[in-house]
Each structure stands twice: as structure tokens, then as C-alpha cells.
């Protein structure tokens, strides 16, 4: 359909503003990380990879990165089975009290992050488990769980219930039906959800900040602590790690399910 010129101008102006605001920080961080100067300046003072060399030598940054990876892995390990089962159950069955359960399962989104984080901090603190990484992983999986459930339930909605009946009439028990029919049908949702959970957990800042102590800071917290003191190009180089991980995640997502899946109407 041909769009009127007025509409085109207005919409495109707003879209270009959006694209610039969305992309500017990424490009600036990329640019700042390869400066050869000691401070971040514009125009940049020539090209060098020395800040990357520097961060490789910084033990605390490397440790923080590894810890972030561990937290994200724990998050996926917890939320993948939990969210998959819940997503399938919510989309496949008509459940008595379904609305109440849905509202309850949306609590991670309706309770402000600072509330969830502080609540978990007090609860985990009372249980004496703070100071470990796994509570951070569990916390990031709780606060993002609705994403996992969403991803799975939207792909389970396309599952034909007759397929499961067919499997059962061929003699498959409930377990076999689940693993051979139901689960493969929702795999795109499971992959999308797990990837989202991994990235969101890797990037999680506030809940991390509340649940870690000085010995186990994660990378976002490490960056936050450093930008409050002084802005040097080595931080830009560290931030590029996040940009690279994000790019990899987007590529995987696009290859496996296609980014267009997010435009599909329910």
C-alpha cells in the first residue's frame, strides 16, 4: 500500500530519531574503545587496541566476566525447565483458577525490581546463602521468568493437540508424548526464551548490585562501580564485551527462529 507523503515524513523523522538514540551509545563505546589516547575525546586520537590489551591483563575484570557467565548459566538452568513446563501448561490446558495463576506468575514484572531485589536480599541473607553466586543466578531467573513462559507459551499455542492424541493412540505414554511430540513443537520458544534469559541475566545490574558483595561482583556492577570514579577507555573496551555477546545472541536468534517471530501476532 502506498503511504501518504505527510505520513511518511512524520513517521520516518520519528523513526530516524529512534534509530540514532538507540544506536549512538553502541557506536560511541565501540569508537572510544579503540582510541590511542589516555582519555576519551572527540575526534578520537588515532586507532589502537591497547585498551583491549590492558583489560586482558586486569584480573578483577576477567573474574567479574566469568562470574557473570556463571550467573547467566545458572539462570538458564533454573528457568528453562520451570518456564517450559509452565508455558506449556498455561497454553495447552484450560486451568481452573488460570487467571489467578497468571496474575501470580506475572508478579516478577509487577513488583518493582528494587522491591524484588531487596526482598530476595533479605530472604537470602536470612537463609545465610548470600556471598555465593547461585542466589544471584536464581534471583535473575525469578525476575525474568515471565519472558521464558511467554516465549514457550506463544510457540505452544501453535501446537496441534491432535498430534498428542495421535501419539497417545499409537501407544505413547505421557512422558514419551511430552518428549517426542510436545517438546519438539515448542523448541523454538524454548531456545528464544533461554537466549533471552541468558542475556538478561548477564546484563542484570540492580539485582546483582543488591545480592553481591565486594568479593563476587559481576561485570555490570564492576562497570558501574568504575564509571562513578573515572571514565577511562579501558571501560569502553570492557563494554565492547557486552556488545559482542549481544551481537552473537542476535545472530543465533535470527538463525534459529528468525527475529521476525517477535512481530507475529498472538
Amino acid at each position: 500500500m502506498k503511504q501518504p507523503t505527510g505520513q511518511k515524513i512524520v513517521f520516518w523523522t520519528l523513526v530516524i530519531i529512534s534509530i540514532v538514540t538507540l544506536s549512538a551509545p553502541t557506536f560511541v563505546v565501540l569508537g572510544a574503545s579503540v582510541t590511542s589516547g589516555n582519555i576519551i575525546a572527540f575526534p578520537p586520537e588515532g586507532f589502537s587496541l591497547r585498551w583491549y590489551g590492558k583489560i586482558l591483563g586486569e584480573q578483577d575484570l576477567r573474574d567479574a566476566f566469568v562470574r557473570s557467565l556463571q550467573v547467566a548459566t545458572i539462570c538458564v538452568l533454573v528457568s528453562l525447565p520451570t518456564g517450559t513446563l509452565a508455558g506449556i501448561a498455561l497454553s495447552k490446558y484450560r486451568i481452573r483458577g488460570g487467571v489467578a495463576i497468571q496474575t501470580y506468575l506475572l508478579l516478577p514484572f509487577t513488583i518493582p525490581l528494587i522491591g524484588s531485589g531487596i526482598g530476595l536480599m533479605l530472604a537470602f541473607g536470612d537463609a545465610g546463602v548470600l556471598g555465593n553466586l547461585w542466589p544471584v543466578g536464581v534471583a535473575t531467573s525469578v525476575i525474568n521468568l515471565p519472558f521464558m513462559i511467554w516465549a514457550v507459551s506463544s510457540s505452544a499455542a501453535g501446537l496441534d493437540p491432535d498430534l498428542e492424541l495421535a501419539a497417545q493412540s499409537c501407544g505413547a505414554g505421557p512422558i514419551q508424548t511430552f518428549f517426542n511430540v510436545t517438546l519438539p513443537a515448542v523448541t523454538p520458544g524454548v531456545i528464544t526464551g533461554s537466549l533471552l534469559m541468558f542475556i538478561l541475566s548477564l546484563n542484570e545490574f540492580l539485582v546483582s548490585l543488591l545480592l553481591v558483595d565486594a568479593r563476587i561482583v559481576t561485570l555490570p556492577v564492576q562497570i558501574y562501580n568504575s564509571i562513578r570514579s573515572i571514565i577511562t577507555p579501558d571501560l569502553a573496551a570492557v563494554s565492547v564485551v557486552f556488545i559482542v555477546v549481544a551481537m552473537i545472541a542476535i545472530t543465533i536468534l535470527d538463525k534459529i527462529v528468525g527475529l521476525e517471530i517477535f512481530l507475529k501476532s498472538k
Binding site: 501448561a89 526482598g119 563494554s239 542476535i250
Partner: protein
């Protein structure tokens, strides 16, 4: 006669063991409870949040004795009366609320055309580009993005360097209210577009064409056809943006530089700077209540929009 079962592949045998085990702990008669069994892990996991809330509620009812730094062993509403009587609380709540509302309106104004063009464009390449431009910042995280803005807007930042080249005095672009709001808008934009796009996809293009062929201008088509039809998406996106920006911590902390605290920052400070856990907890409860009231009002006025989990049309 040969036992035919001996020719079973191993995987079948393993499956059979699982089936038997499952049948033993979950007999067929309980079949109608199976969905609840599947939901149990998620319910337990989210339960940790409920436990956390109980802890906050408990703390909020205990006051700090400044001489001994002990919390009272009885419950009192003193923290709440203090929160409501101090002007500091009102300032911060108003700043957060107003900020969240401005951010919501601006974000929706930017997200709507973005989602519209992304969904409507016939060019697959453009669509992919818009999607990547959306997902990249979404996946990069708040701290790194705020850091990027520090580089761009700082006193020695890029904008001021450029202005310096043409002889303009450095402007103070950071650590003020607009900087925080700007940071929030760009943080919320991907959420808003991703919530809007499915609703936009659901609107058939022919309806717009029909409105146009009946003589409606594009503005009329938008306000009378597309926007009303996209309402579930707009409500969902607006709700997410409103609550997330109302309760945000990182943007006010990094781009506000301590002078533009939102409620979350005030709560954090009570816990980690002033060590007045009780007062901080009461602020947290007030924030949760405020958020829930907002969500409740929007749900009753506009419906749940696209926020529903699972499918609704059964």
C-alpha cells in the same frame, strides 16, 4: 517363541522405565491435575519473591534505634508516618511519577511509528535492520548504554567537544532531570516496540486502505482506525514502560549523578548508606503499592492488553 520384547531398542526401555516411574507417582486418575503439577516449579520459584515481600513488610514495621543501632522487636507504623510526613518522600515520589509519565508518552510516540514501519514495510532488509537496531541495545544492558551516554554528553564528552570546536562554552548536559528522562526513553524504546509490534501485525492493511479510499486523511486513519485497533499493544507497552521507568535505578543513578534520585535510589540509599533498613523497607512497600495501584487502574480502565500469559481465546 522368542520374547518379542528382547528386540526393543534401549531408548524404548529407558522410556518405559520413565513411564512406569511417572505412572507410579502420578496415577492416571490424577490426569486432570497434571497442569498444576507442571506449574508447580514456576509457582515455587515466584514464591521466593513473595517470601521476600514478607521480609520487606516485616522490616518496614520495625524502627531503627539510633543509639544502639538495633531494630525494634515490636511492630510500629512509625516508618510510614515518617515517610508520609517528610517532604523528601513527596519530592522523590513526584519526581519519579512525573518522570515515568513523560517517559511513557515520549516512548509511545517514538515506538508507534517504529513498530508501524517495521511491520508494514514490504522490504525484508529494512525490517531486519530495524529489528537489529532494536535488539542490539536491548541485549547490551543498561549500564553499558548509560556509559555510552556519559561519553556523549559529559562535560568533556563528544557533544561538548564538538561545541568547543565551534567556540561554544561547554554545556552541562548531564546530571539533570532531562538527561535521566532521555536515558529512560532510550532504555524503554525496545520494550515498547516489541510489545506494540504484534498488535500492529494483527491489524489488516486492507482496513487502512479502506479508510483511505473512503476519504480519510492519514491522520484520521491513524486516530480512528489504527490507534484504536492497536490499543491492546499500546496499553501493554505503556504499562511496561510506566512501571519500569517509575522504579528504575540505574538511569537516575548514572545519568542523574545523585541529584536526580528516583524512589529506587532513595530506597537503596536507606539500605546501604543510612543503614536504616526499616525506613527503606517502608519506602519499598510504598513504591510497590504505588506501582500496583497504577497497574490496577490501567487494567480496569483499558484491560490487560497484550500482557496476558498464554492464550486467552479458549
Amino acid at each position: 517363541m522368542r520374547n518379542y520384547r528382547s528386540s526393543y531398542p534401549t531408548t524404548w526401555r529407558i522410556m518405559d522405565v520413565f513411564e512406569k516411574a511417572f505412572a507410579a507417582i502420578w496415577p492416571k486418575g490424577r490426569g486432570k491435575y497434571t497442569p498444576y503439577l507442571m506449574l508447580t516449579p514456576a509457582i515455587v520459584l515466584v514464591g521466593t519473591l513473595v517470601v521476600g515481600l514478607l521480609y520487606i513488610g516485616d522490616s518496614s514495621l520495625r524502627t531503627l534505634d539510633r543509639s544502639t543501632f538495633q531494630f525494634s522487636d515490636y511492630w510500629t507504623l512509625e516508618n510510614y508516618t515518617r515517610a508520609f510526613s517528610e517532604s523528601f518522600t513527596a519530592t522523590i515520589i513526584w519526581r519519579s511519577l512525573l518522570g515515568a509519565m513523560i517517559v511513557t508518552v515520549v516512548t509511545l510516540c517514538l515506538a508507534f511509528p517504529y513498530a508501524y514501519i517495521m511491520v508494514r514495510t514490504p522490504k525484508a532488509v529494512l525490517r531486519k535492520f530495524l529489528l537489529i537496531a532494536l535488539f542490539l541495545p536491548f541485549f547490551i544492558g543498561q549500564v553499558v548504554r548509560a556509559y555510552g551516554w556519559l561519553i556523549i554528553l559529559g562535560n568533556q564528552g563528544m557533544v561538548n567537544d564538538v561545541l568547543g570546536l565551534v567556540g561554544v562554552e561547554p554545556l552541562r548536559l548531564l546530571f539533570n532531570y532531562p538527561a535521566v528522562l532521555f536515558g529512560l526513553v532510550q532504555y524503554m524504546l525496545p520494550f515498547a516496540v516489541l510489545m506494540l509490534a504484534p498488535a500492529m501485525t494483527a491489524i489488516p492493511e486492507e482496513i487502512e486502505a479502506a479508510a483511505g479510499s473512503l476519504g480519510a486523511s492519514w491522520i484520521k486513519t491513524m486516530t480512528h482506525v489504527v490507534i484504536p485497533m492497536a490499543r491492546p499493544g499500546l496499553v501493554g507497552a505503556g504499562l511496561v514502560v510506566l512501571t519500569l521507568s517509575l522504579t528504575d535505578f540505574a538511569m537516575p543513578a548514572i545519568l542523574g549523578g545523585g541529584s536526580q534520585d528516583f524512589i529506587a535510589n532513595a530506597i537503596y540509599d536507606q539500605f546501604f548508606r543510612t543503614s536504616d533498613q526499616g525506613f527503606g523497607a517502608s519506602l519499598a512497600i510504598i513504591l510497590i503499592a504505588l506501582g500496583s495501584v497504577l497497574v490496577g487502574v490501567i487494567f480496569t480502565v483499558f484491560g490487560a492488553g497484550t500482557l496476558e500469559l498464554g492464550s486467552t481465546d479458549k
